[in-house]
């Protein structure tokens, strides 16, 4: 079971309190009905599914109930960091080469 740090509660809590909410930083169009089929497919269905660093959303369902973002390595399942929703995608990751 993962231990996840909620950036709002500022506490590391067991995964059971959280729901994964998929890949992060996928912008929803302000004009959804005007989207082309290609763009809608990219937004709705296509995922990066990386083997390595993933940016993903979590929701602290049984805590503060808020969404936030996390950076995790999908090979080790170790979290690199978590940050609040709305904050920009971190350019530099602590402790990660490249």
């Amino acid at each position: 079971m993962l231990l996840i740090r909620c950036p709002y509660c500022e506490e590391e809590r067991p995964e059971l309190e959280f729901r994964n909410a998929g890949e992060a930083h996928i912008a929803r169009s302000a004009n959804m009905s005007g989207e082309s089929d290609d763009d809608f497919e990219k937004f709705f269905f296509i995922r990066s599914n990386p083997k390595g660093i993933i940016y993903e959303r979590w929701r602290h369902m049984h805590g503060c109930a808020r969404f936030f973002n996390a950076v995790r390595d999908t090979v080790t399942d170790k979290f690199v960091m978590t940050y609040k929703a709305g904050e920009p995608k971190p350019a530099k990751l602590p402790g990660v080469a490249k």
Binding site: I46, R47, N49, E56, R72
Partner: protein, 417 residues
Amino acid sequence: MKKYSVFAIAREAMRGHKGWEEQWSSPEPKKEYDVIIVGAGGHGLATAYYLATVHGITNVAVLEKGWLGGGNTGRNTTIIRSNYLYDESAGIYDHALKLWDGLSQELNYNVMYSARGVMMLAHNVHDIQVLKRHVHANRLNGIDNEWLSPEQAKEFCPPLNISRDARYPVVGAALQRRGGTARHDAVAWGYARGASARGVHIIQNCEVTGVKRAANGAVMGVDTTRGFIGAKKVGVVAAGHSSVIMNMAGVRMPLESYPLQALVSEPVKPVVPCVVMSNTVHAYISQSDKGELVIGAGTDQYVSYSQTGGLHILQHTLDAICEMFPIFTRMKMLRSWGGIVDVTPDRSPILAKTPVPGLYVNCGWGTGGFKATPGSGHVFAHTIAKDDPHPINAPFTIERFRTGRLIDEAAAAAVAH
């Protein structure tokens, strides 16, 4: 290839079992092949086998980063069934089921396919409605499926608890008698032996690290840990890593990879005569010929390539198993493991040509690909050989996520993935 038979066993018994030959050869990779298959699991090896036997294409290499059958082929719970709701799914899964029947004879290799019946339990009125809808849809598609009362379900599977005050009362069940199990390793080994005997090269410990494309975009071959290997046609059959390989060719996929776990108990005498599945409480169970109870759990909720999952996922499944089968509450579990499954948004597979000429993909089987192994290999071989899908896999395109023509088994509930 020396044929296996009772006479062969007798002959070898007489001379100390010194005459058995290796089941497949391990050749050095050539510089170029007609077709490269990435991934020597059941689906990949079946593809190579049918390329050789049905289409006469034997200049084929199957590249495997580990050992053959060491991925999800060796990690699944070996359940075979074809009771899917939609016509497209019924088509492909029943195609596979028909091939399972007779596969041991075809391969001259005992894959231990046992049509012991797959029984899906209903616990509430919604389950009854959904499962009966499946029964009717299946029968319209010529697939056997029948409705059982709780008493009939108990008769079919005696250890089942059908007491009215059970935590998950059994209020009915759908039974596909042709469903069952097979020996998963033997499926990979049988196809490997058959393909190798016809000239297919199976190259293990050879990881694909890149997909080379010509100036016009077409596939030229693959970079591997054992050097570049050329081919005009490349079929990607890499399960949880399919999107990783497809990314090497510049194709982004509608896939996410999750850990899926299973576990087995200590071996006991025959007690579960069939496969029992409950989608509502997420538990499924059967008994291997060795006597172990084989239990499948659910996926973790996050993308991962770790080949392990959370313990609470297993506990959740065991809770349900113990409620439905109180007789098993004191059984000891021996081993648990995880595999990485590639899941599409509509939970149906992709077996198709790709936007890259000469590149084909067979992926997205999610949590239930083993049952489809023969059918998948058969139609995927057709797709590669003819550069055109077989009518059975024609609906399973990548483009369906742009057109919206999904095969939405996920929304149809009662589908244990």
